[in-house]
Assembly symmetry: C2
Homo-oligomer: 234 residues x 2
């Protein structure tokens, strides 16, 4: 990478073959996008793509794309472009998508049920293997062949069934409790749809998606479009 600290401790031939140790967060965020675009290209029968084309398909600057890819250790061919298949494989490897992840969804209200049935997850290698809720009215319900279990069984299921990602789709009030359960059971990756900030120990990755927040951000822009002069320039 760039900051290899000149002088001090220069590892002998350090740089692992296909290294991806500490990528910038911004880069990591874009990788899934690249991967998706590559999939589309692949389906179209394209087998080589330029940074310019791939960047356009993902809405980023081509120089940034190249920088991202070079950080992965991915190599294009000058004067030609990147191999679609190789690049896809490479990115999938960096993202750890070679082995399927095992996901539990906790909270099966409308949102949780939608997530449980969302085809996009299994399509991209995320196996939903556990559904949990605290509501007796929902426990036992069958969703596409998977039965909703009592959240009291969550911890054991995590261990017995190798669950490594927890998706929280409960109301906000229950979210922290569920997070604690997940963390105690050893889960270190959590996707939180509840509208609250979760406290978790170091080493646990939490990503938050708040649907209402997205609308509020749009509301801001909408509000200001109507307030300010409607772009007399450009």
């Amino acid at each position: 990478m760039t900051t290899t600290g000149e002088g001090t401790g220069q590892r002998a031939a350090a740089v692992p073959p296909a290294a991806a140790a500490d990528l910038p967060a911004a880069t990591v965020r874009r990788l899934p996008e690249y991967l998706r675009a590559l999939g589309t290209l692949s389906e179209s029968g394209v087998d080589t793509v330029s940074s310019e084309t791939l960047a356009a398909a993902t809405g980023v600057n081509s120089a940034m794309l190249r920088k991202d890819l070079s950080q992965l250790g991915a190599s294009g061919m000058r004067g030609v472009g990147y191999s679609v298949a190789n690049l896809a494989t490479h990115i999938a490897g960096v993202l750890g998508l070679t082995k399927d992840s095992r996901v539990a969804i906790i909270g099966l209200g409308h949102l949780g049920q939608a997530l449980a049935r969302y085809p996009g997850f299994s399509e991209r290698g995320f196996d939903i293997v556990g559904l949990f809720d605290a509501d007796a009215g929902i426990i036992g319900k069958d969703l596409d062949g998977l039965q909703v279990r009592d959240v009291a069984l969550l911890a054991r299921a995590v261990r017995d069934e190798g669950i490594n990602i927890g998706v929280i789709a409960t109301p906000g009030a229950a979210a922290q409790h569920v997070a604690d359960l997940l963390v105690d059971a050893g889960v270190t990756s959590i996707l939180n749809f509840a509208p609250c900030v979760l406290a978790v120990p170091q080493g646990v990755a939490v990503r938050k998606v708040d649907l209402a927040v997205e609308l509020q951000i749009l509301s801001f822009h909408e509000h200001h479009k109507t307030l300010s002069r409607p772009e007399t320039d450009v």
Copy 2:
């Protein structure tokens, strides 16, 4: 992310009284979070809060919170803190939440249906007033009192019913077409759940939420935790 055609407009010393003209995108993203935390505080009967406390509740640095708020024209009381009620009102005003937004959801598969029924939207002032789909098997279906209409009726509904935000929850293949319909009908704010990049004219704000992307980012961290030594220090 946001294709918010910000012009290069350089205004002369304008700064309105309680200005919020061109807030940094990063600040705007945090405002809904502040607002939510303030709501929680308000329910708890708290009426004054320090930047330190509010920052903790929203997971940000207190200096950044103060900087965000001062940019809004919000004023705290030195030695005391911020008025919970005033601050909430102020932020809501900046976000344009004083008047309810009118939302259409297009695509009522599992995800779209869940969004249609998600209580968090109406709770925060987003009225879902239109549901549209292209599938004859879904058109006519009733969801909590709202009937799914043919997407062919979308354009007229946008105009007649004052819809100003469109939520796209279709498969990726249909998303661009729907976006075109929305834009042609005059919608300038779009929330896109489809896994694809939308092309829209300048001045149209698009926010994208891709659930699988979030899982893939978690997968990256998960992958690297297992690869690298698990934090021998700190």
